[in-house]
Amino acid sequence: MTTPLLSESVETLRDPLPILFLTVGHAGGKLIAHLPKRVPELSYVAVDTDQASLAALPYERKILLGESLNGGLGTGGNLELAEQSLAESEDQLYSLFQGFKVVLIVAGLGGGTGGGLGPLLADRAREAGLVVLSALVQPLEAEGGTRRNLAESALSAYREASDSVMLFPLDTLKINEDASMLLSRLLKRCGMEIGRALGGLAVLLRSGWMIPLTLQDVVQTMKRADGYCRLVAVSADGENRVASLLDQLFTHPLIDNGSLLAHSGGIVMGILCGPNTPVAELEKISFEIQRVLRSDADLKIGVAQDDRFGQHVALVVMVAEQWSAKTVPLSVVEAETLKEKQHGEATEGEKEEGYKKLVQPEIELAANAKSKGRFKGIAPTIVEGADLDTPTFIRRGLRLSFHKELSS
């Protein structure tokens, strides 16, 4: 049996990290409108340029921007107007971030307020010393080229202004085999997934850890992924809870049926469970997930326990989508640090040698398998020094699973 990750029973947690949920624009506000009821201990503020849209939201604090410029009618996708609206309310915004350490911005990317004003707010929050995590909803592909171009620009702006960007593409949440799926259902589903994931993340970050996972762990891992990540939360209870949890994760649409997890270079995973959860179950979750990851993936795991979770186990997983640079195995970094301490800084050649030693056995193993095959003896394809006729998985040092030969 599965239950929602968060329930109304979740109350004040130990050593809380002050987190502000800031919704920007119509989409942002509407998508997580159910969250204050479920996780009431967090702070919520909605910012919009559209008075009517703002009035319909359930948040305790709401800020209408740019009323004198647009009469409270929104920006209509006009980024300049969004910017002017912000400039008009600087004083109001300054006090907004006081007392918080983290701001979780929730916005849709296709509009003027969420796409134009949101990154500016993220920038202000950073200036105020907060860690900025942005949860952004990408519009449907069917919404057209102009909106998509707007969304792309907005995304770039968010990347600049945020410590980590979490993407929720609406298209991934469509149920392909269900042609009758209503738009309202899709948006509701999106809201539920975002709420579950962000609420889960917030609860985890504020929990008492048995195996620690800090906010900086999250931020640093995601930074190495160039800021893009997908965030999912799943939960289960009952006898087969571990299997159910893993099945939910591995078939989750937001991580593309687990594909993104399998190909990702950086993963942050938080397990939240009750005090009676056996170590064997936690190990099983961890090992099963590690088994499907890339051999060079940077995985950070934390475990938090909370009495109120009883028989439930929940998983919050952040999956990095794109790496800006090659992952350097930790052991090389440690070896370099040690060497630096003992003998001064390692030379570039020595670093390279250290890295080669680590990946060499796998490369040699695969290289023995006549890797160039049919391209032997013909002009090689060389790009930036790499011989592309040699299999990519060998050059990248990817590990393959064991495969068993059968007798014919």
Binding site: N149, S259, A379, T392, F393, H403, S408
Partner: protein, 401 residues
């Protein structure tokens, strides 16, 4: 009725011949298709002349029988990673007293921009007009006629390739008693075949995933901003699978076509695939995850290399139409998802448009380049029966009048 046009592509996996008749409404009706598995071609280049010749003749014969025509002249699609691009800017002074730019100045600047010093073993295949710039204006225009200025510049995208490798292709056609009327780069042909004018206008990245090469053309800011060919294709995927899983090439090819996907799907993580035995290779079970990990690594690299080239060479990156994939590789499971992930934009499969007649070419992205060449041929106002249109390139290569 208009004369039929015939197109030849000597691909790495297959030799294809298409015959079509231009219809009165401007569309093409496919009347003949000839296909034969390639032998002696690697990375879109001839490595075994005799074998390649046999394959060409077989495909030609099939197309002739199919279309009930005798083919003597042919339009040829070419590719290969020797095909390179250069951006050349030409500038001329506007000499008229009123400084109004006329068609004459436009022609002059085109000629200047087209002039590129290449090594003696290279030949220009295409010169494609980009934007015109008047004086020091940062924003270019597509047509400067009637505008005022003292200096007119033009960015020209020039595609060139190695003469001897191109000649091998022509010699092959000659051996089959064919005269090559005109040649065009496969990537450009695919653009003609599958993209709508709207897609070109809002910007698109077109990638033709062939067996030997991956050709790409990037439309941005209403012009072709980048075109090229990467010497990696579906053959490399097959080779990677054979090397990684210790299979024969044919076992690996079947595995790729039947079970391969560009993304690892964890919902089927423990799934095993049984490979039947083959001479010299035993039967075995392989994990679906291993197969897809190998394919993913290769295809991801292909997309990443094209993206890196694009990031380097394309100034204005507006791609409202996203990524469009053609070629046999576009039929691989989940290739769209991978491209979408690497380029961070939507991806579609491109099918040849505006054709009728035999169904196969319009139903398969594999035919994008050959159908595009048919359109190129039709646009050139040529027919393969009489009065061939001899392009600059052919004239230079064979010294025709």
């Amino acid at each position: 009725m208009a004369h039929p046009i015939a197109v030849l592509e000597i691909g790495t996996s297959e030799v294809r011949v298409l015959v079509a008749e231009p219809r009165e409404d401007g569309l093409l009706m496919i009347t003949g298709v000839g296909r034969y598995p390639s032998s002696g071609v690697r990375k879109s280049e001839v490595v075994d002349f005799e074998n390649a010749k046999i394959c060409l003749k077989k495909a030609l014969l099939e197309a002739e029988e199919n279309a009930q025509v005798s083919i003597q002249e042919i339009f040829m699609v070419i590719s290969g990673d020797h095909i390179r691009q250069a951006n050349n800017r030409g500038t001329v002074n506007v000499l008229s007293p009123d400084r109004i730019i006329t068609a004459e100045e436009r022609e002059d600047v085109m000629e200047t921009a087209r002039t590129l010093n290449l090594p003696h073993d290279q030949e220009i295949l295409h010169s494609i007009c980009g934007k015109f710039y008047i004086d020091d204006q940062a924003d270019g225009v597509l047509n400067p006629d009637g505008m005022e200025g003292s200096r007119l510049s033009l960015d020209m995208l020039i595609l060139f390739g190695q003469s001897n490798r191109l000649r091998n292709m022509f010699r092959l056609a000659e051996e089959a008693a064919l005269e090559v009327t005109e040649v065009a780069f496969a990537g450009l042909c695919c653009g003609l075949s599958v993209l709508t004018p709207q897609q070109k206008e809002v910007g698109a990245i077109l990638i033709d995933l062939g067996a030997g090469t991956s050709d790409y053309v990037v439309y941005s800011d209403k012009v072709i901003a980048l075109a090229g060919s990467l010497g990696v294709g579906g053959d490399h995927v097959t080779n990677d699978l054979a090397a990684g899983l210790n299979l024969s090439t044919s076992q690996a090819e079947r595995l790729k076509v039947k079970y391969g996907a560009s993304m690892v799907d964890l919902s089927s993580r423990g799934r095993r695939i049984s490979i039947p035995p083959e001479t010299g290779f035993r039967a075995k079970d392989v994990l679906s995850r291993d197969v897809n990990t190998i394919i993913h690594a290769r295809m991801e690299e292909v997309f990443e290399l094209i993206k890196a080239q694009m990031d380097k060479d394309v100034k204005r990156k507006n791609f409202g139409a996203g990524v469009i994939l053609t070629g046999g590789g576009a039929q691989m499971a989940r290739i769209q998802d991978l491209a979408s992930r690497v380029f961070q934009m939507p991806c579609h499969i491109g099918y040849p448009r505006d054709i009728s007649g035999l169904a196969l070419p319009s139903e398969s992205p594999e035919f994008a380049s050959t159908v595009g060449m048919l359109k190129y041929g039709m646009r050139a106002g040529a027919s393969s029966a009489k009065g061939p249109f001899i392009g600059n390139f052919i004239r230079k290569m064979f010294g025709k009048p």
